[in-house]
């Protein structure tokens, strides 16, 4: 029998990771979703429709950009940015939301719900809900509503109801729990648009399938510009959807190193971080078995990151598999370094990155200095940084 590979989860698992750890009430919906997704994936008309929306609504393909001044600053290695910040609504999240909205319409669901941390996925969900005429409720923690207030206003303007989540750490983890509770209650009428490669099967696979367009495009673009592949691909990892999105196309290119950058917050040793793979161990949160920040009793720990989008104690199960098989190396970058990279990229390139990919940009700098002028680095610039201006000013 073939070894389970990242591209083909076996029984809903990537190696040991994944599964469906949810209340019985949701099992029927997950089984239906899995069937519907496989059916839609194989349906040429669905794919054509998706391609049309990706082009005219999302704005794909997004460019590959040679960051020449960053390259010089880092000592000469070539740094390219995959410009997901140029997607409509300002981040890669819309790639996934458009696909899932089409699926919701196909399933006859009139209402969608979403969780959001940085607000980018919430905005993406509210945007597709407006575009396809669906009702939309977005769950967001109080703390995130404060630090991402502009996105809250955007969601409301788009017609979504934003529900403030006051429980627990008041961030993405609790917003996700609340969204799942809504789904348990309204599963017959509602589709849950999960924003990352997390949650129960088939979400990690489905969101991966919808985000892999990032890497598919970037690999072709890189080859057509340079005639060869990058030495290393770097992406930030919270739940991990932009990273899986760009990594997937390169998984079989053994000569290309892949690096996932988690949020080290105030330092992994400080305990105030969100680096699930670097600093956690396997467990179950939000329906899947993966790496998790938890205490000895299996209680999920509070996390910290300056970036709301990375401030999550879990990570997608495919990342757990890629970590254990060592195909991807996972590292962590602090708030301080991410902030410096944010400012550096803004000043040198005239591109204001979100704080999430600023973690990846910092690490690209570390790699560039090691590699020297011959190095070739591709970074996933997963979103734009306008939403982070308050955090940056404060920091």
């Amino acid at each position: 029998m073939a070894r389970p590979t990242p591209t083909h989860p076996v029984d809903g698992r990537f190696g040991a990771y994944g599964g469906k750890y949810v209340p019985e009430t949701l099992m029927g919906a997950l089984i239906e979703l899995e069937d519907m997704w496989h059916e839609a994936k194989a349906d040429t008309l669905f794919q054509l429709e998706l391609a049309g929306h990706r082009h005219a609504f999302v704005g794909r393909p997004t460019p590959l950009y040679a960051a020449t001044r960053l390259s010089s600053h880092f000592g000469g290695a070539h740094v390219h940015l995959k410009r997901e910040d140029l997607c409509h609504t300002g981040a890669h999240k819309l790639n996934n939301a458009v696909g899932q909205a089409l699926l919701a319409v196909r399933m006859g669901k009139k209402r969608v719900i979403a969780e959001t941390g940085a607000g980018q996925h919430g905005v993406a969900a509210a945007t597709v809900a407006a575009r396809f005429g669906l009702d939309c409720t977005v769950y967001m923690g109080t703390e995130d509503m404060r630090r991402q207030s502009m996105n809250v206003r955007r969601m409301k303007l788009l017609g979504a109801e934003v529900v403030e989540v006051t429980s627990g750490t008041k961030t993405l983890k609790d917003a996700t729990s609340e969204a799942i509770r809504d789904w348990v209650t309204n599963v017959q009428t509602t589709h849950y648009i999960i924003g990352s490669v997390v949650g129960p099967h088939p979400y990690p696979e489905m969101v991966r399938d919808l985000q892999r367009v990032i890497g598919d495009e970037a690999r072709d673009q890189y080859l057509s510009v340079d005639g060869k592949l990058p030495d290393v691909v770097v992406a930030c990892v919270g739940g991990g959807s932009n990273a899986i999105g760009i990594f997937t196309a390169f998984l079989d290119d053994k000569e290309v190193a892949l690096v996932g950058v988690e949020a080290a917050g105030k330092g992994v040793k400080s305990g105030q971080h969100a680096a699930s793979l670097v600093g956690g161990r396997p467990g179950v949160l939000h329906g899947s078995y993966s790496y998790l920040l938890q205490d000895g009793d299996g209680q999920v720990l509070p996390t910290h990151s300056i970036s709301a989008g990375l401030d999550y104690p879990g990570v997608g199960p495919e990342h757990a598999f890629l970590n254990d098989t060592k195909r991807v190396e996972y590292v962590a970058v602090t708030d301080k370094d991410a902030l410096a990279a944010f400012k550096l990229c803004t000043r040198l390139e005239g591109i204001m990155p979100a704080l999430e990919p600023a973690h990846a940009i910092h690490y690209a700098g570390v790699l560039a200095r090691e590699m020297g002028p011959g190095g070739r680095i591709l970074v996933c610039l997963s979103g734009r940084g306008d939403k982070d201006m308050d955090s940056v000013d404060g920091g």
Partner: protein, 257 residues
């Protein structure tokens, strides 16, 4: 699957009267008080007691049980301490069923959890985020420690999965009556009776109805259809308000007869 009838199964089978299962959270409002409350509940005429072990992210629970779990965690409740609570209450003779989420069990080690639960005098375990498809090896360890594995059936469960769930269950089958999370509701949902009838086609085990059940009139409605009713949030709310939950249990029991 023909298995020997278990103590839990015997306790929950309705014989004319509807049986009542009460739920409480270990460590709520604190460990000592939860043992006292549990002992009082044990002698109040209930057929079995469910004891919750708190988890930081309880996906199947509404606000009342979430809050109780949070309070218990703040007081340092964990699996080991909850088993001490369960053990103290089980000596009163009431069948004790543990209810917790999969992650605390995984962190404790499922094999050790099963052995220690059996040693504490527990009769069965319910894990609401562990559907039958994912239940091994945890359920295997529970069975080998002679603990009942109670699985849930929901209004959204398809017929073919219902058969599998019943096959994997022992002690009783937990029928989630509402499409939703735990928490007291005014009205019981329509279609409940049909759900019980459907489940009965797949099992000889007693059927306990749970989620949203809180009032004596709910008991009356369930009598003659389900074997037992599980009341959770309404009892936890009494404990939370510092009241003796036995008064509510007595009211509910009147509706069972």
């Amino acid at each position: 699957m023909v298995a020997e009838r278990t103590r839990l199964e015997d306790a929950l089978r309705a014989k004319g009267d509807l049986k009542l299962v009460a739920y409480m959270m270990a460590g709520h409002p604190n460990k000592k008080r939860s043992i006292e409350v549990g002992k009082r509940l044990a002698g109040s005429g209930i057929a079995a007691l469910e004891i919750g072990i708190p988890f930081s992210d309880p996906l199947a629970d509404g606000p009342v049980i979430q809050r109780a779990g949070q309070v218990a965690l703040e007081h340092g409740m964990n699996v080991t301490a909850a088993l001490e609570v369960a053990s103290s209450i089980a000596t009163e003779g009431v069948p004790v069923v543990l209810m917790t989420y999969i992650n605390p069990i995984l962190a404790h080690d499922p094999r050790r959890f099963a052995a220690e639960a059996a040693q504490a005098g527990v009769t069965g375990v319910i894990v609401p985020d562990l559907p039958v498809e994912e239940s091994e090896p945890v359920a295997g360890w529970l069975r080998s420690a002679s603990l009942d594995t109670v699985f849930m059936v929901a209004p959204t469960t398809a017929e073919d999965r219902m058969a599998t769930i019943c096959e994997h269950s022992s002690g009783f089958v937990y029928c989630v009556t509402v499409t939703g999370i735990t928490g007291a509701r005014k009205e019981l949902p329509a279609g409940m009776k049909e759900l019980f009838e459907q489940v009965r086609r797949h099992t000889q085990l007693p059927i306990a109805a749970g989620f949203g059940i809180s009032r004596p009139e709910h008991m009356k409605a369930l009598r003659g259809t389900a074997d037992a009713a599980v009341v959770g949030s309404a009892i936890v709310n009494e404990i939370d308000q510092g009241r003796d939950p036995v008064a509510l249990v007595k009211e509910l029991l009147k509706g069972c007869r």
